[in-house]
Amino acid sequence: MCLPDDSELYLRVKTMIVNAVKLKKPPQDIGDKETLFGAGLGLDSVDALELVIAIEKEFGLRIPDAAVGAQALASVESIVNYVKEQKNG
């Protein structure tokens, strides 16, 4: 169960993903824990770059390398956690 401000952040991240990779589904239809790459949402390495750019633009946060990216970009939930960690840390 998300806190109210969390659910706002989740929707913001989902909307960012839809816009960044031009997904043909509404943000609300992306599951919080759904895998973004491969079998889940089906994103690829080119989409990963678009997400990195979008996160920098939307939240002012850099994803420094592939290792951090692999963890942070795994799902909507992991992006939300990365944003919260970086903003609070």
Partner: protein, 153 residues
């Protein structure tokens, strides 16, 4: 020091030293400058007897837009290679995404294209570039191209 040496070297190299492509699929003549490792400028002159002009179009030869994109992609590919690859390796940069490309003016035989590329973002093995082609100071095409590095062993 190393950077400026690399820049001097690149301008003096032939295109086949800089690209994995070979004829009949080389659509660049020369690299004319590099600014740091993030910007590059190259040229290509469209010759009246270039083979594809015969069919595009009979009686009204103009450079096909797809070949203009290829010239911009080869320019950006050299930049990616200089920026990301170690010396002497054989990496190939595959064009994986073309966005917001506009063809603003037709390019006629005899024109010399000034092809510019700039690296916008790099993540892992993926590179986003901004490209532009000019003829006589007028932008004839522009857009963004994304490449993925493939290491060839």
């Amino acid at each position: 020091m190393l950077k400026s040496k690399k820049m001097d070297n690149i301008v003096n190299k032939t295109i086949t030293d800089l690209l994995p492509h070979r004829e009949p699929f080389i659509f660049l003549d020369k690299v004319v400058s590099m600014e740091g490792l993030n910007r590059i400028t190259a040229t290509r002159t469209i010759k009246k007897n270039d083979y594809y002009l015969k069919g595009h179009f009979p009686g009204y030869p103009i450079l096909p837009g797809v070949l203009l994109v290829e010239s911009m992609a080869q320019t950006a590919g050299i930049l990616c290679s200089q920026n990301l690859s170690k010396d002497n390796n054989q990496d190939i940069y595959f064009l994986t995404k073309i966005t917001d490309v506009k063809f603003k003016h037709p390019v006629l035989p005899g024109s010399t294209l000034l092809l510019k590329a700039e690296i916008l973002n790099v993540f892992n093995n993926t590179v986003k570039t901004r490209v532009e082609a000019e003829v006589n100071g007028m932008i004839v095409a522009e857009g963004e191209l994304v490449f993925v590095k493939k290491e060839v062993k």
